[in-house]
């Protein structure tokens, strides 16, 4: 989108201002490098292949949910139901694959694939319904998704009687715990999805319409962009990626917890925000979101390694989120 220049000074700008603005352009990378350097100095366990594999596996869940969230936030909407949607998808997949009762338990990998498709299909459908409620009945997305998140939560609890679903067919492990070569499957899923999403956002009509819709819905409509249809589809993608995140987590924990993913949705929103997506400024990139997820994950990971109380992690994450947005605002 933007032309890439390493350092640029605008006409009439003092050099101090230009330095601040240029630094803020790369603030994410600078922050990331700074964190890696600092934590590496403190702990030898940090800058290791094992730890980075671990780190990426940790972020893969909210990272996947953040893909759909990027589209939704690019059109200047929000999805507060991602976490609850993910938990519901995890529960549904597990129930379908529970040995003896699960109808898809005895069909091997084909059954697993079918169960996943059904679970995330339901999630995508739920997302699409939110989109329909939002665009056709003109209910703010904030309200619709907040409302349905309670419905998902209730549905997950009702389906499971509030007990975790366990005893799935063993092969279900592969999604969350498996490896291809030396790389964990969830990391591969995440990167493949980011690559697809990046391509869609940058090189397809559908993806590009997100910027126009977020920047000026009316102008987009008058330019012949199918605004309503695309909005519904963006919400469906949000549901789909949230559902997939839930399935990955359920597989990794090897249990369908109706209350899982409590933080996943908000983490995804934070990752998108830190990643620099801003509808009103016409900005947003998929890799920015991944970077945002990585920064969030790295804070948790680093604090863990340094054996700092996990309660501080929340404080640190919150602070980074607010500071990231503040730097962003200073830029304009």
């Amino acid at each position: 989108m933007e032309q890439i220049r390493l350092f640029e000074r605008r006409k009439g700008e003092t050099s101090a201002k230009a330095v601040v603005r240029n630094i803020s352009n790369y603030s994410l990378y600078i922050l990331l490098i700074l964190m890696i350097t600092l934590v590496s100095m403190v702990s030898q366990d940090f800058f290791t292949v094992d730890n980075f594999v671990n780190l990426f596996r940790q972020i893969s869940i909210s990272g996947v949910a953040a893909i759909g969230m990027t589209f939704i936030m690019l059109i200047d909407e929000i999805d507060l139901s991602a976490g609850a949607n993910a938990a519901l998808a995890g529960v549904i997949a597990c129930m379908l694959l529970k040995e003896e009762i699960g109808i898809l338990a005895s069909y091997g990998y084909a059954g697993i694939l079918a169960a996943i498709i059904i679970a995330i299909g339901i999630s995508a459908l739920c997302g699409a319904l939110c989109g329909i409620f939002h665009t056709y009945l003109k209910i703010p997305s904030f309200i619709v998704t907040l409302g349905v998140s309670y419905i998902y939560k209730g549905a997950a609890l009702l389906l499971t009687n509030a007990y975790p679903v366990i005893g799935m067919t063993e092969k279900f492990e592969v999604i969350g715990r498996g490896y291809i070569g030396k790389i964990p499957v969830p990391i591969i899923i995440m990167f493949v999805l980011y690559f697809i999403a990046w391509f869609v956002l940058k090189y397809t009509k559908f993806g590009r319409s997100a910027y126009a819709i977020g920047g000026n819905t009316e102008a987009a409509q008058l330019s012949g962009i199918p605004v309503k249809r695309n909005k519904v589809l963006f919400f469906a993608i949000g549901g789909l990626t949230a559902g997939l995140a839930g399935v990955i987590l359920a597989s990794r924990m090897f249990s369908g917890q109706p209350t899982a993913c409590a933080n996943t949705g908000l983490e995804a929103i934070a990752a998108v925000t830190i990643g620099g997506t801003s509808a009103k400024a016409g900005r947003g990139r998929m890799w920015g979101t991944l970077l945002g997820s990585l920064i969030m994950g790295m804070i948790s990971n680093a604090l863990n390694i340094m054996k700092i109380s996990p309660y501080y992690q929340f404080v640190a994450l919150g602070a980074v989120l607010v500071i990231a947005v503040a730097i962003d605002k200073l830029k304009d």
Binding site: M1, R10, T204, N216, A219, G282
Partner: protein, 508 residues
Amino acid sequence: MKVGSDADYILEFKGIGKYFPGVQALKDVSFTVRKGEILALLGENGAGKSTLMKILAGAYIKDEGEIYIDGKPADITCPEDSERLGVAIIYQEFNLVPGLTVAENIFMRRQPKKNGMIDWKRMNQMAQAIIDEIDINIRPTDIVNTLTVAEQQMVEICKAVSLNSKILIMDEPTSALTESETQKLFNVVRSLNKKDVTMIFITHRMDEVFEICTNTVILRDGQFITAAPISELTLDQIIEYIVGRSLTEIYPERDNEIGEEYLEVRNLTDGGKRVHPSSFVAHKGEILGFAGLVGAGRTELMRLIFGADKIKGGTVLIGGKKVHIRNEKDAIRFGIGLVPEDRRRQGLVLALNVRENIIMANYEHQKTWFYLDPQKEKQVCAKYIDKLLIKTPGQTQYAKFLSGGNQQKIAVAKWLNCNPDIIILDEPTRGIDVNAKYEIYNIIIQLAREGKVIIFVSSELPELIGMCDRIIVMHEGKISGEVTGGEMNQKSIMYLATVEGGKANGAN
């Protein structure tokens, strides 16, 4: 205190400079304003008038130069500074809270208090006193969003009066007013002027400059050009100063040839809400004007043809074939393009760059296999930037940083990129400067010459008369008549636009 003649200067600008990303908006602007003047600040769009006034009002911070108010250096860094120094500004977009009362808006942040609580009774009395002082017909307890535009403007003036402002700036105050409302505004201006309030008017309407203003200052390209009492200037001189060249002709020569009938609209209606069944035809290569008062239904009729609103009856025929237009996408497929009336709200996505805006309505011929090709996009945009003389530092410049004229050209380029046969332009020259207007006229004629059907909606009659082959007039949602050739004069069009005549003010 300064000595002698300086004492009657209430306001002095010295070497003001202001930079925006990629442009220098003001260059070394210096002039003085005497106490009690009604100053017309004139210039094209992008000349720097609004920027200068926003600096005075504290909305922008100057990069260079000094401002003196009453001979004392004024250090203005925020709107409160300027308010304290007695400067009030009324923007085109009012600064009112629509859901609150008139009194609350007047005394925003300064509500009179009793025992730490807002003293409503006294606030309403104080508001009434100001309303009486400038003699207008509103009540302190009226909710602002129930008032007309003219009345809301009066609330802004009341606010300025309540602040004891010495300098009152008005940015195009009459652009949304009817003739009688304008006269009322001028009466208020004159009475405030008698109380030694200095006024600065930004306006594009020359007749008003001569009617109400005492002095003029003219800016061009961010620089001070001249200042003179209004009595020493003629209209032609002023326009020459504004434009920087003498305008031998306002409208370019037309050499478009009218071809066969192409678009036919039969009894098109939105069910009688804003558009009653309307019928007309348009020909290839013809520039067809649509005149009428504000609210006559011209924009709404165009939106129906373009599929932006739901058609409730009637048919559209293109090239003799009946077409079914359900939405904008259909209209584009049938070769219709609409440049909407409000380019900032409807025409462009200001947060996106020039290139994104130009290709927004049609990605088809940038498509390679199944993805969009950035190289082809660049070529397409370069072509239109060249063809329409769009002044931009580059294709990646954000649309919001361009002047009104260049923004409008981008809105036009977007539609040329769809290669439509029928182009509807709704108020294409509104709020853009004389030079940019001329260029837009040239583009329109060029398109007509290429055999496209041009529908030109405008509220400026001279423009329609100068540019169109034929003009259709609308009144209260109906087509009330059509004029061609020698009949195309202001009088006959106004007659049709008001039907019984004399309704001109009421119909707004």
